[in-house]
């Protein structure tokens, strides 16, 4: 029996590459299945969300204009580092969610593999989703997919890690930046993941992670005019309808997805841009 007292981690928000506490000073208790206290997580406020959106918007130009090859490299590097944090992530999942070691292990492995799968799409997507269009006239006409901008993610509650990761990867691989609200009952793997991001080559602000309550924050995500799209997979009615109503104000692209890896999930947060130019001498 080791008598050493563990040094507990303080779980904070991840905004603009830094780990601030909530500006509100609020926290909430994270307990395991038996109700034992595990940690205090930040209870992010709408002002934290606002700060995260600013960070995300500021990160937009650089990330969206990085080469696809570069984005792919950075994402792959994140997978490498996730691999090194595997045990910690498994522990954070088992500890709180009460799932078995092997189930947690399966989730983490699936998460990493899915991240790698999406990373590889960075420099292939335009080839399959873009086109040259044979218009009737002396014009060269082509369509390319472009990132949407700032996308919000309300992470699913059904998994602590996989649901978040499989939302984030397809969003950022194309050049979007993200503000994500972690799974509220177990945000710890999300913050650990943020630590991976913080030490990776991902530019600050590309991914911002908040912890808190979706009933409180989701409406603010929905109404924020500088968020261009929302992944609200697993959000249920009536909250989903409220989100759509609020999101209509800037015509947010609001989407829900099944747990299936697909390039359509990347394209859902991209815009097709079509360019015409005359052909002549």
């Amino acid at each position: 029996m080791n008598e050493r007292l563990e040094v507990n981690k303080t779980y904070k928000l991840f905004i603009g590459g830094a780990f601030p506490r909530s500006e509100s000073g609020r926290t909430y208790e994270i307990n395991n299945q038996s109700g034992d206290f595990i940690a205090n997580a930040c209870l992010a406020s709408r002002k934290d969300l606002r700060d995260a959106v600013v960070a995300s918007r500021n990160a937009q130009p650089k990330w969206s204009s990085a080469t696809a090859y570069n984005r792919g490299q950075i994402l792959y590097r994140i997978a490498e580092m996730l691999e090194g944090r595997k045990d910690q992530l498994i522990q954070e999942i088992t500890h709180i969610d009460g799932v078995s070691q092997s189930a947690a292990q399966d989730e983490v492995i699936k998460t990493i593999d899915r991240w790698v799968w999406y990373a590889g799409w960075s420099d292939k997507l335009s080839s399959i989703a873009g086109s040259t269009n044979p218009v009737s006239g002396p014009f060269y006409n082509f369509t390319i997919p472009e990132p949407l901008g700032v996308v919000g993610v309300i992470a699913p509650e059904s998994s602590a890690l996989l649901g978040l990761i499989e939302a984030l990867a397809p969003i950022i691989v194309s050049g979007n930046t993200v503000v994500a609200l972690a799974n509220s009952h177990n945000p710890l793997p999300a913050i650990t993941f943020a630590e991976v991001l913080a030490t990776s080559d991902l530019p600050a602000g590309v991914v911002n992670v908040l912890t808190g309550k979706k009933q409180e924050l989701a409406p603010w995500f929905a109404s924020h005019m500088d968020i261009d799209g929302l992944d609200v997979s697993e959000i249920e009615e009536p909250l989903l309808a409220d989100i759509k109503v609020a999101g209509a104000e800037n015509l947010k692209r609001i989407r829900t997805f099944s747990d299936e890896a697909s390039p359509q999930r990347i394209l859902a947060f991209m815009e097709a841009k079509t360019i015409w130019h005359p052909i002549g001498v």
Binding site: T143, A241, K244, A248, T274, W276
Partner: protein, 478 residues
């Protein structure tokens, strides 16, 4: 005669027969509506016909017909057979092109040159293009045997009545959906003539239904529980209302909404073609174009040269009888639209912008507005921010390429943009920076069924045309 005065060259009206009144086209036949409203020729204010005002019951009947047609016929038919119906429709549109063109100009006010050379041929082209897709949906990028949504509710605007109908109906039918379409209140006649085309093509009953009416009819369609997908082209305001109206449903929607496109002219632009492009960008179709180049951004060192050439060119614009083959600028579609154009133009005056129009005699009857430019406009002016949807151009200047892009993107809209320069790398850079769904470089207002069209930001959801537009009518998993 000492100068070359073009004598009137009117296209004959005799080719069209307009009935005194029209019902709705439901389940393959015309059905009387409960009440009617007049549709006018905006060039003369003459009443052309009485159009039925679609009620909730009319919409219900049309949706029911579309559902039956979907379940019993259209969704069961092979893509190849569906495609052949679309080919038939395309051919009939070509055969009756002149009739459609004249009717469109009568009902809409647009010059016959445009309805004849742009609207109607492009409408037919949309059916041809999508006819070919009908049996090739496996290659649309959504996997094997992608499924249609079912019954689509389509609401179209008054600026390109038949063309917008074609943009909506052709991809819907190609993908196996059935349709209930509501034309715009002021421009229903070509849609009702299209109903005859459906009859001539022997399209199965209920595959295409047309319910005429106003905004209340449109709302009834959007709200109808039997609708699986909405396709709307119109104002951003109504687009947002639709988005809210379907929030608690599983209905899918594509929205083609407003715009305030920047048309950016760099100092190495091909000047004469640029001036043409500016004119085409804002005066095509009386400026009733969501993607109109309504904000002209001129590099400051050539702004005077461009403006002086533009004014000379604008003086050549022939305003008048839409049916005259030499007319360049026709009538404003409605008195309501004319009021809006006047109101925003007055705001331009009040905010200190300088208004200029060439001398031109406007007819005394009908709805008319002279081609107009405002110089000295800044980003803060209403006429630089709000969609005027008329022949009114706001002119701004910029000093550097970066400033041009910042100004161009400084709008909640993101439908289209123009770039004029003979430097390839600058064009590609600007095209990359612009937040807009359609970029015209060294051209403007070009449309093609193979070319996806649609906007970023508050200009809408989704694309129409091309493979991208097709997929909006198919279910995509993931």
């Amino acid at each position: 005669m000492s100068i070359f005065e073009y004598a009137p060259a009117p296209e004959s009206r005799a080719i069209v027969t307009i009935k005194p009144s029209y019902g709705h086209f439901i389940n393959g036949g015309f059905v009387e509506g409960l009440s009617v409203f007049p549709t006018l020729n905006p060039a003369t204010e003459e009443t052309l016909s009485q159009i039925s005002l679609g009620s909730i019951a009319d919409v219900d009947r049309a949706v029911a017909a579309a559902r039956v047609a979907y379940e019993s016929a259209w969704s069961k038919m092979s893509g190849r057979e569906r495609g052949k119906y679309l080919f038939r429709v395309a051919r009939i549109l070509q055969e009756r092109a002149r009739e459609f063109a004249v009717l469109e100009s009568l009902d809409n006010g647009k010059p016959i040159r445009e309805s004849r050379d742009v609207d109607i041929p492009l409408a037919a082209a949309h059916f041809f293009y999508h006819a070919g897709w009908a049996d090739k949906l496996d290659y649309a990028g959504l996997g094997n045997s992608p499924k249609p949504h079912g019954v689509t509710g389509q609401i179209i605007p008054w600026n390109f009545p038949l063309l917008m109908l074609a943009w909506k109906i052709a991809p819907a039918l190609a993908t196996g959906n059935t349709v209930v379409l509501k034309p715009a209140e002021t421009t229903s006649l070509t849609a009702l003539l299209f109903a005859e085309v459906c009859q001539q093509a022997d399209l199965p009953h209920g595959v295409v239904n047309i319910v005429t009416g106003d905004g209340t009819t449109g709302s009834a369609l959007v709200d109808h529980p039997g609708i699986d997908k909405i396709a709307f082209t119109g104002s951003t305001q109504v687009g947002k209302e639709i988005a809210r109206a379907i929030a608690s449903t599983t209905k899918k929607a594509t929205l083609e909404l407003g715009g305030k496109a920047a048309n950016i002219v760099f100092d190495d632009a091909p000047i004469d073609e640029t001036v043409e492009g500016i004119v085409n960008g804002i005066f095509f179709n009386q400026g009733h174009v969501c993607c109109a180049g309504s904000r002209l951004l001129l590099q400051e060192n050539i702004s005077e040269e461009i403006l002086s050439k533009l004014k000379v060119r604008m003086a050549q614009i022939r305003v008048g009888d839409p049916l005259d083959k030499n007319t360049d600028l026709g009538a404003i579609n409605s008195s309501a639209q004319l009021d809006k154009i006047r109101e925003l133009s007055s705001a331009g005056d009040a905010e200190g912008a300088e208004r200029w129009s060439p001398p031109c005699d406007l007819p005394s009857r009908g709805f008319w507005f002279a081609p107009t430019i405002f110089t000295g406009v800044t980003q803060a002016h209403r006429i630089a921010r709000e969609e005027i949807f008329g022949p009114v151009l706001s002119v701004l200047t910029f000093r550097t390429p970066q400033e041009a892009i910042e100004k161009a993107n400084n709008t909640p809209y993101g439908l289209s943009a123009g770039i004029w320069s003979e430097k390839g790398s600058r064009i590609l850079w600007a095209a990359q920076q612009l937040k807009a769904g359609v970029i015209w470089a060294n051209t403007f207002n070009k449309f093609d069924p193979a070319s996806p069209f649609g906007g970023y930001k508050e200009s809408g959801w989704g694309r129409e045309g091309g493979r991208h537009g097709l997929t909006a009518y198919l279910k995509s998993e993931g």
